[in-house]
Symmetry: C2
């Protein structure tokens, strides 16, 4: 018997969840609106999707989508198996058949894809991360603690020499990683080539002097994959080793194209992802979404963090982190989870405790480093101290008694003052 691709859907409907589950299976494989002579049983057996189970959940009094129908709105978790032969390993085919089309079906008051299990053929067909955790650690030389990163802000408007001045400050502050804001790609006032020319020498100089090469993630994303490859090549030529990729904006195809040719660490920013997940009754879980992007080759995955400035609740960050920790295929590298947004070190203990007490992550602080009252250098020290405390299980306040920088961070950023 051949393999199957299994998807789990959270179905909400004033109608019968079983009926809707059967409709997904039918519509997304052999089904059509009028029975056709050629639709033989043999054919159906070959490619027809099959409802594996429909597990009832408590109903909802209100619908997730506005509807004219009356409640209660029945909810269930439906598991549907698609024969591997119906889809193959092409990720856009998988997205089209098992996810995309499902959302057009009539009769739902809510529909969300919450899990996906892929057969091993996908591991052969797709490369996965080229660097992942292991490569990120090798390139930064950071072992035994989180890789500490920062972001150059303001997001937009700095000219290359202005950005360079800020970068100089943070690399001298002994940060491990710096990134362009994801909104900064190659606008007229700061073309990527100019930015690379202004900044890369600072990184190489610092490496010469200290032996430490700061990883800089360049905003190489571009709609045209040829342009993106030119951007990639100029970064590589200048000695760069990382790039920020706006994965949703460029799409699967461009990511596949880049990964086949890439020599750099691919740091994914998932802006736009919130549209797919912000309403809990619609869209998909990160658990599903991340599988596509890991197969395509994301090395470092931004997933927000604890107490972020965005809408995303802490639980959502924690479950995203756990999804990334889960091996997808054994022969693939594990991606590096990146915690960021409003981070200053204060969230280190909770981040550590809720993610299985791991230090295999990047911890990205913007204001939490550069707005430290002692300067960026003190900011980096404070973040490292916060992680030492977290790993040792010492409360931050206690650790701060003998660690001035952390004490200053707490005085500046704690208790809702925020980074």
């Amino acid at each position: 018997m051949s393999d199957v691709i299994t998807l789990s859907y959270l179905i909400e409907t004033p109608d019968s969840p079983e009926k809707l589950a059967a409709k997904i299976a039918s519509d997304q494989s052999t089904g059509t609106f009028v029975p056709l002579a050629a639709e033989t049983e043999e054919l159906k057996n070959r490619v027809a999707a099959r409802v594996v189970s429909v597990t009832p959940l408590p109903f909802s009094a209100t619908p997730s989508f506005p509807t004219n129908e009356n409640g209660p709105f029945n909810r269930a978790l439906a598991e549907i198996a698609f024969p591997f032969d119906a889809i193959g390993t092409d990720l856009s085919a998988l997205m089209t058949v098992a996810i995309g089309g499902v959302f057009s079906i009539r009769g739902f008051s809510g529909i969300r894809v919450v899990d996906m299990k892929l057969p091993d053929a996908f591991a052969e067909a797709w490369p996965g991360p080229q660097f992942g955790i292991t490569g990120s650690r090798q390139l930064t030389g950071v072992q035994g603690r989180p890789i500490i990163g920062t972001i150059v802000k303001p997001a937009l408007g700095l000219r290359p020499h202005e950005t360079a001045a800020l970068v100089k400050e943070v690399i001298e502050a002994d940060v491990d990683f710096v990134k362009d804001d994801e909104k900064l790609m190659s606008p007229a006032y700061s073309p990527l080539a100019e930015r690379v020319k202004a900044i890369m020498p600072l990184i190489l100089d610092h490496e010469q002097k200290t032996g430490k090469k700061v990883m800089y993630a360049w905003g190489i994303s571009a709609t045209d994959p040829d342009t993106m490859m030119r951007n990639h090549d100029l970064v590589v030529k200048a000695g760069g080793n990382c790039a920020v990729i706006n994965i949703n904006s460029i799409g699967f195809g461009a990511m596949a194209f880049l990964r086949k040719r890439s020599q750099v660490v691919l740091h994914a920013h998932r802006n736009g992802w919130d549209i797919l997940t912000r309403h809990p009754g619609l869209g998909m879980d990160f658990k599903v979404y991340q599988q596509f992007w890991r197969l395509l080759g994301v090395d470092q995955f931004q997933i927000n963090g604890i107490k972020v400035k965005y809408w995303e609740p802490d639980e959502s960050f924690v479950s995203s982190f756990k999804a990334l920790q889960q091996p997808l295929f054994n022969q693939h590298q594990q991606p590096l989870p990146v915690a960021g947004s409003g981070q200053w070190g204060g969230q280190a203990p909770e981040t550590f405790d809720r993610t299985g007490r791991t230090v295999d992550l990047m911890y990205l602080c913007g204001g939490g480093i550069v707005s430290h009252p002692g300067g960026a250098g003190a900011g980096v020290k404070a973040v490292k101290q916060a992680w030492e405390a977290a790993v040792q299980g010492v409360p931050l306040e206690d650790y701060a008694k003998h660690h001035t920088e952390l004490a200053q961070s707490i005085a500046t950023f704690a208790d809702g003052k925020g980074a």
Copy 2:
């Protein structure tokens, strides 16, 4: 003064819409969570987004997203102008800055992008449709009426020779256009190369005999743009002139890559789009979405139709149609709107009347043609008759008195029996 890119957002919040609008403008341009010394006024003026207007709308008693906050939920339409220099013409930059990131902002109980106005620089930077309405008409030889198309069903499972047998039937039925179901790309049981080999000779034979070349839209979509181009090339080499593209599944980059090299009409299937639009308080309007894909080069755009089998209401189809009719940039071709799903001719009068009485569309019928009791030939005739009646303003029932095939269609498909 340089150009601006203007976006309109439907904001819903228990807080102040003005405050949230200001937050979008700040977060998505120069804003950061801690004021930085380098963030000068000069810089802000160069790239800062600006709230143009906030127009209050009636509040909502219930939130679009579940929230712990109490209502009422204030609603407003906010117009925000982004300096062209902050973004440039890159579509993934535009998506990242003006759309993607907005959905991560805290404090909304609903957020939807409802309009977008782009400056002329985008017309220079992007090619738009290569064929559009004009090219589609030239290649099919159809003038003065809708291009009549059909879809090979079942969606999945037919082997190439089985698909070919169905295609033979519909091309002999005098249909103008045939397409692979969008879920059929290149699975093991029906590799694209085999399908082309089995079907293309039938189309070329028919052309030899009748002078009429049926346009066949091949499922060339693939995640890897190199694979997609190989698919494209084998279609072109065999004499094909059209392809179905799963635009959301492949993404902007792959579409840009294809359009630069394409010699065929690009027929867009937007599966997955419903995730972005099904909840009226979240996501974006087609009016916004279609601008990206038109710039990237979609020639024919599937947008459902009147009384479809999917969730999408008729009003949504009508407004999508109108969005496509609206010239985007004068120097670009107009794309061909494609009405489909459950169509059999019965929807022709309403389609015609509600879309500005135009015949510049493709009218795509599956069962409405192939399940006609008189066979596919009678099905095509019936659909053409329905459109003649619509254009002449004659009720279908009257026109059917002297048009047997239409009369049979009405008897088979009308009054909720459905195509």
